[in-house]
Symmetry: C2
Subunit: 298 residues, 2 copies
């Protein structure tokens, strides 16, 4: 399917993509670049990449597929470096967790290569980052969101969708704005809350004792608080308006619950918990897709 | 070890206790009472109990071990009904998630049988309640907190500790006040936040679409939102002052994070996330116990 993948960023996301692409027999060779020489060499040793590039340009030149898998904050400078050396027929994708900022950066940086860019966000990850945790099955049975621009060459969107489908992902397509609003609510705010919950405990003198007593509910609730700080710094800043808007909704819902506690209104409190409990009990991971009327035309 | 367990409440917690006690060979027979006839009969059919009691008193009479496993709000009326028929040498325990209110109820209800009561809280559970989900291994490798009163007959505390240890639990002892403060921070507030997070999403018109796009991070973060509404109504009301105090700490930690986002202060935001991330990455379930200097004398 592809002659050469140019992989920019050889961490968890990029390394897992390269491993999956190779296992599926979809690429002849992978040239990988990472700012960190150690990461590049680990990626080579793990078989995620076949050739270590010394520069970003080396990885892009001659590649018919380029995946940008760097922290969101490094996206624009990376795209600017890619643009002059990207082959005219190449497919360029990213894996960023926010999309409006990536699209804006692409508009500023890619020039006439803008039409080759298909922004992508795999709904997959681990709280442990790094090439050491790369996993050939990371994208298997996970959702993958494409947010093409009006300028994107349409056959490239179809090619990107086919590629991710062959890796086992369920491919959806929507606008960057809808993407960022959705993930502010179901991913970015939950991360912010998990960070805040940990910090709230750590700020009290009994923190060590309390954490030693925490059980399985805390384990699952707080798992995402262990996420990579630089990745999440970038996501929370890139999507800050939407995240802050979701935080206001959360605080209002919390106010409502707490008012029933303050008032000792057991039946109102139970009704609010029942609403949450029934919705969560009926939810399934990747269990449904937006209905056609809600989704953008693909 | 025991001749007869009188089980008051045959749901997930009580049913799992009876199954574990029988499997460990620690009891000759189990007499079970549940307000719901259907629950009693399911418990009998599943082998959790040997005899269905028609009344609470029937289950208590002649039992040398009584476990109260009813919703926290039903504790006081149940204790008042148990008191007149409890054998003078019996061990009485509960499994409630809050302890100050249980101890206060016991003081009001138990009279001269107060010395037989050892309040207990197993740090175990599932988001799915009911005898159908009873699990012989529910208490295995889980913490179990005892919060005896000054009036509790000391040998009963040792007996309770031995019993739970034989079921595979790690037994800790502390005051009801310390227990309720700890679990407000690492259990009750996380549940309240998970309920609020679900309700905040459900209150927005895009709820269905957003929930359909949610990934593994949301799955784990929100799992406890599916918890039993009546159980959690009672817990949040019983421990409301501590939970509201923890919510104030959470809101302050959230304010601090959001202020760095508003200011676009990437390094301050990263430092706050790093604090949370490192603490959570280093945390292990049941991995440590309060140091002797922090724990009450056992």
């Amino acid at each position: 399917m592809f002659e050469q993948l140019g992989l920019i960023g050889c961490g968890l996301m990029g390394g897992s993509f390269a491993l999956a692409l190779k296992e599926a027999g979809l690429v002849r060779q992978v040239v990988g670049y990472s700012k960190s020489e150690r990461t590049r060499e680990r990626a080579l040793a793990l078989g995620a990449i076949d050739i270590c590039a010394e520069t970003l340009e080396q990885a892009v030149e001659g590649s018919d597929l380029v995946l940008l898998a760097v922290p969101v904050a490094a996206t624009e400078s990376s795209l600017a470096a890619i643009a002059p050396v990207l082959a005219p027929r190449a497919l360029l994708m990213d894996v960023g967790s926010t999309k409006c900022d990536v699209v804006a950066a692409a508009r500023r940086a890619l020039g006439e290569r803008l039409s080759r860019f298909v922004p992508a966000h795999p709904i997959a990850g681990k709280e442990s980052a790094g090439i050491e945790h790369a996993d050939v099955a990371l994208y298997h049975e996970r959702q993958l969101i494409l947010t093409p621009l009006p300028e994107t060459h349409p056959p490239l969107v179809a090619l990107a969708a086919e590629l991710w489908s062959l890796l086992g992902s369920q491919v959806l397509q929507m606008s960057p704005e809808r993407h960022d609003a959705a993930y502010a609510s179901v991913s970015h705010l939950p991360h912010l809350l998990a960070f805040a919950a940990m910090n709230a405990i750590l700020g009290q003198p009994q923190a060590d004792e309390w954490l030693a007593l925490a059980g399985p509910g805390f384990r699952d609730f707080s798992r995402i608080a262990a996420s990579d700080p630089s990745v999440w710094r970038d996501i929370l800043l890139a999507n800050r308006e939407q995240v802050l808007a979701q935080s206001r909704h959360l605080r209002a819902a919390l106010d409502t619950l707490e008012a029933t506690m303050q008032a000792g209104d057991a039946s109102a409190l139970q009704a609010l918990i029942t609403q949450a409990s029934q919705a969560r009990a009926g939810w399934r991971l990747g269990g449904s897709t937006p209905s056609p009327s809600e989704a953008d035309p693909a």
